[in-house]
Amino acid sequence: MAQNEVLLRVEGLSVAYGHINALKNVSLEVHRGEIVVLIGANGAGKTTLLETSLGINTPNSGDITFKNKSISGVPADRNVRAGLCLVPEGRGVFASMSVLDNLLLGAHHNMKNVGKNLKRVYQWFPRLEERKNQVSRTLSGGERQMLAIARALMSAPELIMVDEPSLGLAPIIVNDIFEILVHLNQEGYTILLSEQNAYKSLKCAHRGYVLETGKVTLSGTAGELLNDPGVREAYIGA
Amino acid sequence: MSLATYYFLTITAVYILMSWGLYLPYRVAHLHFLTVANMLISGYLSGYMVQTLEVPFAVALLAGFAAGGIIGYIVSLFIGDAPTFTVVIVGFTFIYISRTAVENIKAVGATMGMFGLPAVSGSPVMHRWTILILLYVLVVVVGFLIYRFEHSRLGRAASAVFVDKDLATSMGVDIKRLGRLLQTFSSLVAGGCGVIYGFIYRSFHLDFFTFHLVGIFMTVIFVGGYATMWGTVLAAPALYGLSLILPPAVASWRIVIYGTILIAVLVLKPEGFITRRLAYKLETALSRRRRR
């Protein structure tokens, strides 16, 4: 893998909620064009890491750099406009709003190219176009995950962070979702995703990090992690 | 005792009692404005009983308490565990309806009000002393009851409800019963207050029981500190005294002044002046000195 530019760099990040240390001195980097996976169990700190990188929380210490500019303490809406976005855990679509409205919300900071982006998103996800006026609550779990990803695409991001895309989805649908992520990556989107499902996610990723109770315990290429006995035992069950 | 002193002491006592009446249900996040309606209803009821039915004052006073308690209890059956917003609206509604009712009922003086009620005991001087003593006995009794409540299991449960209703329920607190109890008690006290309030002036008039009272009592508990009962004891005389000290031209704007103080406190010192921590420190300091 050629040494591409570092799109997102997190250094020494520590985040605490009251007395609970959610992240302790976490460092990672995501290079342009990569798919990087964050593996960890429930409560390991994956969501905190992604949300803090987006700018939802302010870290207690550490630095976050996006496209070589520091974004520590920068609010989320500015980062979204700069090309960073998050597909939240549990789909995070607005259930009472239509598919189209959800997509338009994704383009909230990028209305200039909304027509173009809408067309592209419909090409990726024809099922969403079919249901564009339907209230999102009526979509299936897989469709909602697609909507969440499509909505992220509407902001024309450079780096898409995806929080546990496979959560609560049937295995066949999970395969579909990962296929979509791989295709998106081939189109040029950089992807950072967090997962409990280590096997499937490592299979499509370039590199990965293992997060345990707020600390990075292992990192390496996807192949290295897949073959690591500790990882296999804890997260793959092979 | 001068008339000015008389009014200051008596009105302050009423303010303290009514503000406590608002403070108690607010322990479970209920702004129980029904108490002002209780004042009005029981007040007019007692006035009518004493003036027209020639019932002795003591009986009328008891009737006032009873009316307050009964109304408070019945209403609490519906809003014992309602959200704060609902409790506020119900309170306002009852104030509105009772005011409209009194406006239209000739027997209680309609818009003119009731005047020249008989003195409670013998001479006007005796009357004033009786009212004064009555009020402060009430203050001590109610204060004692509230103090015991706060330091009881039920009182601690109430604090839990204020912070987190769902958590409190999962710990076994019966919110509806607690809410009912606090609301009923407050309404009972308010009923008696309404009776005595009128007898301070020996008259009843709609102008005594306006929405302004809501604002005043609310200001007292939030400025004093809504987390403990002592804040009210300090804030009531302070705020009432303030309106007496001010020059008359400014004093007519006292509601604006109270409102401004309320807003300032909410923004700058949200827990009020006597915060929970301060009260705790004072209480432990006092009890330590007592033990020595």
Binding site: V80, F94, L104 | T84, F92, T93, T100, F211, L262, I263
Partner: protein, 294 residues
């Protein structure tokens, strides 16, 4: 029959004002996440401002409307940082404190009106505003220009609001925050700034309502704010807090009901109707007829 029709028309005019007030209130509730008890008092204050402007500019309606809108927008924008500060004081959004804050604001406004304008007496709007001669007369039914205007503007304003909410970018942001503030943040919607926008929007609405009320009622008084405030809150409770469509239905229905009661039963009972219905609804359907949408 003619009384009936006349009262229904009256009721629709009054009802559309209730709807607008409920919508402004719900907007603040859903987007700014505050309970603004004193919103109707802000409206009444703007009525007074309009009245002052009318007196000093020889009844220039345009200037009065602008002044009313400006005054309520300003009042809202000034109170916005107070509300936002109060919400920050506790860790979670504490909506009860916003309620108390708004009660404080209401106290101040009402008392300022009682002391600072016309010695606290009710103010009357020039009859030209309402229309001195009815523009339509069919038997008992006579429509004043003011009534028609208030109904027409009311309908337009309500449609405008709904259009804004459902078909525009800022409207989408409002609805997103209304449904899920955290989700909205994740999509990059600035919560504080959008909250501010809702203060401004409900301010504009408030100014409009002030003018409409002036046209419909022809008078204003310090107590009007409290009266109207209770009715509007009743509408919100009956419909279900935060329920915009429910507010539409209930507001209109209440207006018509009140007008009918006023037309057929003498006395000031029409005011009590709202409260009786509200109490009944609270007993049997505490979440409102159409459900709470918070």
């Amino acid at each position: 029959m003619q009384t009936f029709i006349a009262q229904v028309i009256n009721g629709l005019s009054l009802g559309s004002i209730y709807v607008l007030l409920a919508t402004g209130f719900n907007l603040l509730l859903l987007v700014a996440m505050i309970i603004h008890f004193a919103y109707p008092q802000v409206v009444v204050f703007s009525m007074y401002i309009a009245w002052v402007v009318l007196r000093y500019t020889g009844n220039s309606i345009v200037l009065a409307v602008l002044a009313a809108i400006l005054s309520s927008v300003l009042l809202n924008l000034i109170s916005a940082p107070l509300f936002q500060q109060v919400m920050k004081n506790r860790e979670e959004v504490d909506i009860n404190t916003t309620m108390v804050l708004s009660l404080g604001i209401g106290m101040i406004i009402t008392d300022v009106l009682s002391h600072g304008f016309n010695k606290g007496l009710p103010i009357a709007f020039p009859s030209k505003l309402i229309g001195e001669t009815p523009i339509l007369r069919v038997g008992l039914i006579s429509l004043q220009g003011g009534q028609v205007a208030s109904l027409a503007v009311g309908v337009l304003a309500v449609s405008g609001i709904f259009l804004l909410l459902y078909k525009t970018r800022p409207g989408r942001a409002f609805r997103a925050i209304a449904e899920d503030p955290n989700g909205a943040r994740l999509v990059g919607i600035p919560l504080l700034r959008t909250g501010f926008e809702s203060y401004a929007l409900s301010g504009v609405l408030g100014g409009l309502i002030a003018v409409l009320l002036a046209m419909l009622l022809g008078y204003s008084s310090p107590g009007l704010g409290e009266q109207v405030a209770h009715k509007v809150l009743a509408v919100s409770i009956i419909a279900g807090l935060g329920n915009l469509v429910g507010g539409l239905v209930v507001g209109l229905a209440l207006g018509i009901l009140e007008a009918l009661v006023q037309g057929y039963i003498s006395g000031s009972w029409s005011n009590a109707i709202a409260f009786v219905v509200m109490l009944l609804v609270m007993l049997f359907k505490p979440r409102g007829l159409f459900g709470i949408k918070l």
